[in-house]
């Protein structure tokens, strides 16, 4: 079974892809939002914006159980994520090629985990509904050139 940790790892790699693609340094929130927007566009085209919004709402609800401060974040009617990073602007590391998030520590999540938690849950839902091959193909389509195969991912690896 795919673990939340693996999904967080995958979310981090998506962010690293985005950070690498950008020439300018951007804040973690912006990179997270860019990852989310790419997922929204790709999944929205494939499944429809209503379907994406439903999945995103579910992902957010699950992430809230992990990080209660995500109560302030909402999924808008069009599926956009609103309120992420609101009041959390400080303390977020800047993403770059050396992007690294701390390991899971219950009750002690770093502040930058907010967006990752949402994206990890969203990816987890896609894996549940579509399975690994189709999910990875959707991601490859959204991030052409990025390596999402089993060699670089824990997804699908035997424990």
């Amino acid at each position: 079974m795919t673990t939340l940790r693996e999904m967080r790892d995958l979310a981090q790699r998506l962010m690293a892809c985005e950070a690498n693609a950008s020439n300018t340094s951007e804040s973690a929130e912006l990179i997270i939002l860019r990852v989310y927007e790419k997922l929204r566009k790709s999944l929205g085209e494939f499944a429809g914006s209503a379907a994406f919004r439903s999945l995103a709402s579910r992902a957010l609800a699950m992430a809230r159980s992990e990080i209660p401060r995500l109560q302030a974040v909402q999924v808008a009617e069009d599926g956009a994520l609103k309120g992420l990073g609101y009041g959390l602007g400080h303390g977020l590391s800047e993403f770059g090629p050396q992007i690294h998030f701390e390991e899971d520590r219950p009750g002690e999540q770093p502040i930058g985990d907010d967006g990752i938690a949402v994206i990890a849950r969203l990816l987890g839902l896609l894996l549940i509904f579509l399975g690994e091959p189709i999910t990875l193909r959707l991601l490859r389509n959204a991030w052409p050139g990025a390596a999402f195969d089993e060699r670089s991912s824990d997804i699908g690896r035997k424990p």
Binding site: F46, G48, A51, F129, L130, I134
Partner: protein
Amino acid sequence: MSTQDKVKINKLPTGVPGLDEIVGGGLPEFSFNIVAGAPGSGKTTLAHQFVFANASAERPALYFTVLGESAIKMLRYQQQYTFFDPAKLPDSIRFINLSQVVLEKDLGAVLDEITKEVEKANPAVVVVDSFRTMVRKPESDMDLQSFIQRLALFLASWQATTFLIGEYAEDELRDNPIFTVADGLLWLRQTAERNSIVRKLQVIKLRGQDSVPGLHTFRITDAGIQAFSRTFGLTARRRNPPSNRRLCFGIPELDKMLDGGVREGDSVLVAGSSGTGKSVLATQFIAEGIVHGEPGIVAVFEERPEAYAERATSLGLDLETPQKEGKLTILYLRPLDLSVDETMQSILDAVQKIGAKRLVIDSLAGFEMALSPGFRADFRESLYRMIFALTGIGVTILSTVEVDESFTEFPFSTYSISFLTDDIIRLRYVSIDGQLRKIMVVIKMRGGNHAKDIREYEITSKGVVILGKRLTEYQGLISGIPVHSG
């Protein structure tokens, strides 16, 4: 216009086993097809099979989903089928959701969206699932017929083979102008017959194709849809000219009664009540064929293949070795709810696989019982079609049938199927000298001069053995209660 002047229409594989034969060799390239039927009838699965069979990275398939089943759920379920190849997503097969456009705009906007995507992707296949759900808003500035007309024109110009999927009830088929636009109209039906579900498909219309008319059974398994043509895929096969070759039973006296054996390509019926040795005779027929290098198929419904082979061993007949050598197949076709056509398709597949020359169906009663109740009404007709098809290619068929023993009548079969048999051998009990003995008579032999003798026989460790000469000392043998006259 000569044949070479005519435009050649390429036929695309449907990806559905059995359906190519039904649609006349494949679906015409660039055709505009409607797949209609009630919810759950298999429309989406059929479209997926076509898409996976034909899409490539160079000429992809665009699968537009509208309202109704969400693409995520659809893919969740569809990927369970063995034909589903995730490697084809998204380069060869792209799913595009149009629900927002449908909800917020009108059919004109939907057409624009499809046009935009088609021009971008240059697809070989386009599916709109389900086009019927698009007509939701009465204020739509374009009615469905006009939308479909324009869509058909556009997609044909872009050299795309198209499927529109729609939920339609049976009574909507008549006078529906939408169907006139389509080149092909496939109707899928699913009906409950007592406790069984019967699925059938019909090619109502297919321009330019010699499709097989009528209702064809289909089944949905983990491999997707499998269709069973009413002609069993044998329409293209030429019938063999009648043969004069005789096939023996290996029972010398019986072979003599049959003027040397049954004619190759005949359909033989062995009728008798329980315990008269019908299966023994059938086993001897198949075993003798193997001795003469004629591969055989035994379709059993009342006992398992192991038991059948074991019983043959007790008669000194080895059915194990020819099975291992690929000269004999014993098919066990007992699962309930089989459609008559898929049962017959299994038999045909086995016949074609080993090049069988002899086929035993043991028994017709068991065969009928193995079918779902809804198919039993079609039994005789389907049996006729199968026997006609197989004997036409030179297979000799021996069917056994149990008849109720009556001491006032001499029935050949309870199925009224003697019309589809060339030869009938009747076995029955008679009461003679305080014993229940067995007699055999050849009732009918089409195109042959068979013996009229009534012969007594026994079932021994060597199988059926005909005793002595014909019974001349008794009158009324076929009544079962003869009178000694000698």
